[in-house]
């Protein structure tokens, strides 16, 4: 039987104002029935374009300039629109990142599902209804009959994505293209969706083309992987071969740049891939990765087109590298790791937070509805220490951003205290704080697109805090700006640039420089790298931890990425539903005994290791609404280790193991010995 999808050296060009730009060049791969191929790469590498080309759905301006795309053995180039639409949805179904964009908001879930068989004329209404209900059951949605009558906006993000998957499977396609299907979702929901995809794949036998920037998710789903860089396939092969023995320097760099959960504690430096992907790389004659590669040799790499070379003959593991053997030797030699540094409870306490609580009131006055109280943050207690990093982790909606905003003064707390030096920040919003106090706490924001004002130059963005917070005059501030740029490793030419002329990583560096301008004591970073590519992420993280450790600045980092937290935190607070459920030094939080929620988060975090089995714990359900009053444990409704009525009725006792505490009813054993921690060798290193 023919492969469900075959790309034969396909090139795609974009024809725009600036002339012809190659987007994808010479990409070849094939997916056998029932197989699954993962395509990974940084943003701008052309992976989504490949997906669209497979459906012949290229946006205006894009054109296939060379090669053939075959679907089940038939060349799609010669097909009429009618033939194409018979393939789309019927033989190939696509699942996009944002489920809301593939669901019609004015139609019920049921109508949309039934449309598939009705449109293809394979069932009558009663038959379609039966199939739709059955399919909703297959994607593990509870109460499918009820779900049929719902509208998309009434579902949670995870439920929506399940409906989209159900819709894609309704036509029993031969190939399922998934373009970043779990990117916007929380780790626990992501883990559940990935498990579902695995399960359905073996059940329905559909082949999968899985597109993602996240190596962890690809490792969980796929049996083959292709690495795209600048529109070219630089490495492909069996997933185990590529993950364990990456041959191309780029693949190797991607794996090395990834913070890992199983790393032996904090402090090891990530190895970023230097530089960024540029438009020029796509048109380069030689190796596209050349400008960023440490092994590049003139002529050999830069002048000729580099062919795909077999890494291990007979295995199908190929890499587009001209110096494969030299690279392999060099990478073997460099496989050394830096040691860790333990959390130091002796470091002076910078910020002492006790019972910090924030309640929002909704409705009331004009709303007509009854007044509801959102308990965004309840009784948070923790300390931040000078020169150390406290990480706050949890799923979206757990109150971690509220916590950051309360400390930074953008909102005022309802109760509790947060002492910095002699001042209580909790009830003091930023416009009431004296200048010196404002200077001492600075923030780094998540989104590189909105962290800098698009109307002002980099220089303006850096000068202003120096003048306002440190009272500097123009000339002095100018000198200081130059020093700041050096600290964040940006060349001074960038000062005159506007934010839109900078890459995401550069913008985030400027944002860090801006935060450092006031010489703060404490920096609050809200997901500082979650919007950046893996390779850039590592560089920013290294920079941040170097600068702060050097200046003995405390850091509170808000994150949902446990691997990242494992990598950089000295202290960790795990939050759920506005409460801290576990708190302590990072080494001890990441080792047993765990709070059941921490355990579930750790299990759900995607690991870049194809040998990792399915997660041991998968959380079902969703976080309860923060408007509900929870009498017992906040996690009781989803806890896989729930004891019984006790958990619902009584607030959990706090179990202390030295600095480390866990709020749980389960009588957890004390940590037996630090040595008992399961140490796995880091994969791929």
């Amino acid at each position: 039987m023919a492969e469900v999808l075959r790309f034969e050296s396909v090139s795609i060009d974009y024809i725009g104002k600036a002339g012809r730009q190659p987007i994808v060049s010479g990409v070849s791969f094939a997916i056998a029935p029932g197989a699954s191929l993962g395509l990974v790469g940084e943003s701008g590498c052309g992976k989504s374009t490949v997906a669209l080309a497979a459906m012949r759905y290229l946006p205006p301006g894009m054109r296939i300039s060379a090669g053939r795309i075959l679907v089940e053995g038939h060349d799609t180039a010669g097909m009429s629109d009618k033939q194409l639409s018979a393939i789309r949805g019927n033989r190939i179904a696509m699942i996009y990142q944002d489920p809301m964009s593939s669901l019609n908001p004015v139609m019920t879930v049921g109508e949309q599902l039934m449309e598939v068989p009705l449109l293809h004329g394979v069932a009558d209404r009663a038959g379609a209804y039966r199939r739709a209900v059955a399919m909703l059951g297959e994607v593990r949605l509870s109460d499918p009959e009820l779900m049929m009558a719902r509208y998309p906006h009434q579902l949670s993000g995870g439920q929506q994505q399940r409906v989209v998957i159900a819709m894609a499977l309704m036509a029993e396609p031969a190939l399922l293209i998934m373009d970043e299907p779990t990117t916007g979702l929380d780790v626990t929901i992501e883990a559940a969706i990935l498990e579902l995809v695995r399960e359905l794949r073996s059940k329905f036998g559909a082949a999968i083309l899985f597109i993602s920037h996240n190596l962890g998710t690809v490792a969980r789903i796929c049996d083959r992987i292709g690495v795209l860089y600048a529109g070219r396939l630089v490495e492909s092969g069996d997933i185990r071969a590529v993950f364990h023995r990456p041959a191309h320097p780029y693949t190797h760099g991607l794996l090395a740049a990834l913070p890992r959960l199983d790393a032996s504690g904090k402090g090891g430096r990530l190895s970023p891939i230097e530089g960024t992907l540029t438009a020029a790389d796509r048109a380069r004659a030689g190796c596209a990765f050349g400008p960023r590669c440490a092994h590049v040799v003139v002529a050999e790499c830069t002048e000729r087109t580099v062919p795909l070379v077999e890494v291990e003959p007979g295995t199908g593991h190929v890499a587009r590298c001209a110096r494969l053997d030299a690279v392999r030797r060099a990478l073997h030699a460099a496989a050394a790791k830096g040691g860790g540094e333990a959390a130091d409870a002796g470091a002076p306490i910078l910020l002492d937070v006790k019972n910090l609580t924030k309640h929002y009131e909704l409705g009331g006055r004009f709303g007509g509805r009854a007044r509801r109280v959102v308990r965004a943050l309840s009784e948070a207690t923790f300390q931040a220490r000078a020169g150390q990093t406290l990480a706050i982790v949890g799923e979206s909606g757990c109150g971690k951003s509220t916590l950051a905003k309360t400390i930074s003064g953008l909102i005022a707390a309802t109760r509790g205290e947060a002492r910095l030096g002699g001042a209580d920040l909790a009830r003091m919003p930023v416009d009431r704080r004296p200048r010196d106090l404002r200077r001492r706490i600075q923030m780094v924001f998540q989104n590189p697109d909105s962290t800098l004002n698009p109307s002002h130059s980099v220089e303006f963005a850096l000068m202003r805090p120096l003048k306002v917070l440190r009272g500097m005059k123009q000339a002095e501030a100018k000198r200081q700006v130059a020093r700041l740029m050096e600290q964040v490793q940006l060349p001074p030419e960038l000062l005159a640039r506007m934010p839109h002329q900078l890459s995401g990583g550069q913008r985030q560096r400027v944002a860090i420089a801006r935060a450092l301008a006031g010489q703060p004591d404490l920096v609050v970073a809200d997901e500082p790298v979650s919007a950046l590519d893996v390779s850039v992420q590592a560089a920013i993280l290294n920079l941040l931890s170097d600068l702060l450790r050097h200046a003995r600045i405390g850091l509170i980092v808000i994150s949902h990425d446990l691997a990242l937290v494992r990598h950089m935190a000295d202290w960790v607070a795990v939050m759920y539903l506005g409460r801290i459920v576990e708190y302590g030094p990072a080494d001890r939080v990441f080792a047993p005994p765990y709070h059941p929620y921490t355990e579930a988060l750790l299990a759900a975090a995607p690991k870049p290791d194809p040998d990792e089995g399915p997660p041991k714990v998968i959380l079902g359900g969703a976080m309860p609404s923060p408007t509900q009053v929870v009498a017992g444990c906040p996690f009781a409704s989803r806890c896989p280790r729930k004891l019984g009525a006790l958990c619902d009725a009584e607030p959990p006792p706090v179990r202390r193991f030295g600095d480390h505490w866990i709020a749980c009813h389960i009588d957890l054993p004390p940590p037996a010995a630090a040595a008992e921690r399961v140490a796995r060798p880091a994969a791929g290193a």
Binding site: H456, R464, R497
Partner: protein, 303 residues
């Protein structure tokens, strides 16, 4: 230290072509505007029409072939366009071309001043309303809605009848009636921008609300504001024409395009050119403004 340095060099080299501009980073505002206009043929045409009328207004004493108010009934024997009077003469024998050229002065002085006062008032109201929210927002927006709900022509007539027809009153009435629309635009941008991280960063520095509104927020409304100002210039040209036509525009005998139509429309079936030519002049300026606004909007979306 050498490794990170190299990384940055690569990163820098990368960003410039990615931004799509080999040109130096910070160009003057004028140059940037010119680049925007140049990028769109539609904006070019619109700009050319406006520029044509501006030049006419500026050099009126030199380019107008006759004094605009010179009455010469002898020309009424043959009032149509001819070699002596390119666009013909009106019912009093005045040269239409000269009156158009001089009339451009009136419209091109009164309309921009009126629109700019509307913009100034609208910006202040929009910023306050969007940034402060609450009661201030409710009051400003409801008053604005009330004003917008009122038929404009009737409002013009009432005010002009009460306070008399003068350039100042035209500017005031157009300024006040257009301000709510501009306030809405600025408010929408403010509502969006005030929750951006850079505004939070400014608040954390302890910037005053005035600074945040004027320096952090307002520049980001530049794009939609410029487009709207040009659209409004077009509408104001019509409004001034209408006021002139209704007899509450600028007092005669000074040439005013709307007034020219009013004075001659009774003769439209006898001497149609006397009415049609000033009407075409008004339309051309309005179309010029609209084309420029459309072109700028498209260019801004592409870039």
């Amino acid at each position: 230290m050498s490794a990170p340095k190299r990384a940055i060099a690569a990163e820098t080299g990368a960003a410039a072509p990615a931004a799509g501009a080999a040109a130096p980073a910070r160009r003057g505002a004028a140059k940037r505007a010119w680049a925007l206009v140049g990028a769109s043929p539609i904006a070019m045409i619109g700009g050319a029409i406006i520029l044509f009328w501006c030049l006419c207004a500026l050099f009126a004493p030199w380019v107008a072939p006759y004094p605009p108010n010179k009455i010469d009934p002898a020309q009424l024997v043959y009032p149509y366009p001819s070699w002596r009077h390119w666009l013909g003469v009106d019912h009093l024998g005045r040269d239409i071309l000269s009156r158009l050229i001089w009339g451009a002065r009136t419209v091109l002085i009164v309309a921009p001043i009126a629109v700019f006062s509307a913009a100034a008032l609208g910006i202040v109201l929009g910023l306050v309303s969007g940034y402060r929210g609450g009661v201030a927002d409710a009051v400003i927006m409801r008053v604005g809605d009330t004003l917008l709900a009122f038929p404009k022509i009737i409002l013009y007539l009432i005010i002009m009848a009460k306070f008399g027809a003068s350039a100042f009153n035209i500017i005031a009435v157009i300024g006040v009636t257009n301000a709510p629309i501009i306030a809405r635009i600025v408010r929408a941008v403010t509502l969006d921008v005030k929750n951006r991280d850079y505004v939070a960063a400014a608040r954390m520095r302890g910037e005053s609300p005035l600074y945040i509104m004027l320096v952090e927020i307002l520049p980001n409304a530049r794009g939609p504001l410029i487009v709207d100002v040009f659209l409004r210039l077009g509408y104001t040209t019509i409004a001034i024409g209408v006021l002139g036509f209704l007899g509450v525009g600028l007092p005669p005998p000074d040439p005013d395009w709307g007034g020219m139509i009013k004075e001659t429309y009774g003769m439209i079936f006898v001497w149609p050119h006397m009415t049609i030519i000033p009407a075409v002049a008004i339309s051309s300026l309005v179309i010029g403004c609209n084309l420029l606004a459309t072109g700028l909007r498209e260019a801004a979306h592409d870039g």
